[in-house]
Symmetry: C2
Subunit: 211 residues, 2 copies
Amino acid sequence: MALWVKEQQTDDLALSCRVSKVLHREKTPFQDMAVVDTLQYGRMLVLDNIIQTTVGDEFVYHEMITHVALNTHPSPKRVLVIGGGDGGSVREIVKHPSIEKVVHCEIDGAVIEVAKKYLPEISCALDNPKVEIIIDDGIKHVRENKQTYDVIVVDSPDPIGPAEGLFSVGFYEDIAAALKDEGIFVAQTESPFLNRDLIQRLFRDIGGIFP
Amino acid sequence: MALWVKEQQTDDLALSCRVSKVLHREKTPFQDMAVVDTLQYGRMLVLDNIIQTTVGDEFVYHEMITHVALNTHPSPKRVLVIGGGDGGSVREIVKHPSIEKVVHCEIDGAVIEVAKKYLPEISCALDNPKVEIIIDDGIKHVRENKQTYDVIVVDSPDPIGPAEGLFSVGFYEDIAAALKDEGIFVAQTESPFLNRDLIQRLFRDIGGIFP
């Protein structure tokens, strides 16, 4: 039997990836989680049937979502990562010598556990002494931490299910307040080819809040 | 009935795109050609079951395969495009004011006819007076035109079937000889994620021929 992960990216587009082995399957309080080995991209994390990351190509995403902001800020010391339980963003952030503290706020602790066990290439910096892991709602954390961070990275999954609130105006207002002066906000905002309406909305929402 | 174009990109990876209408189907002397309307990417050209171009995202490919080389060369006047019967590369090249002549050498005249009829957004510069279309084998054309071009763009499909010879050492040697001094060669070389062996081979082959 040939097993495939088939991600329906939209109603009209699907990506299918052959699976050689299912390593882990778990229903967490937040989502349906799976780790599989694929022949094309190596090991893959899948949440609610949506491909989150693969060992074969994760560097493209994690390098871009972190280094552009961190190299733009003159001296980033305190960084917040919301989501990104696989640890790839944290791994890239701690490469910057100016970093003193990375607060990693992930709502689903089971994702972090599974990443540590099955995705060591991606999660390898989660034990770095500069990294504090908080298992909590990122929206709440941001609301309660005014003027705390130089850079905030929202490393979220698709804007449905547990991540829906990470694409809301109220959240962006709290992000702006949680940043120090000269702070930088960067967020995963889906494919511009497949989600034009979402990206137009985000630009409008964010443009109205950030200077 | 839902119709899908399913492109098996490798044995282990497939992309499926829903089709709303099949506009044209033809067995040319060189390949199986189809033009379909898709819901995700708009109109699409498919050759031998492999997606060649779509109106929705072709600009990414055509801008990159032309403007990098044309902006690197100090004054490109004569450009050769091999393949690329849809006309997208030619459309971008004639935007450069220094261009005097674009020779467009496509082996399969049926592709050009179908592009003119069904893909006007892409083929719109094929009637430009600076453009000369030659329906012939690009390998032969390059062999017979020494020191003729400032830039040569090989806008080929996958390295199988009619395009196989466009990925050979002998062809690269003829390309080098067909370029003027300071000439630039640019080629479509497939996805670096999916074709590592091919790209390693190409770098080795081309590096041994070009200074």
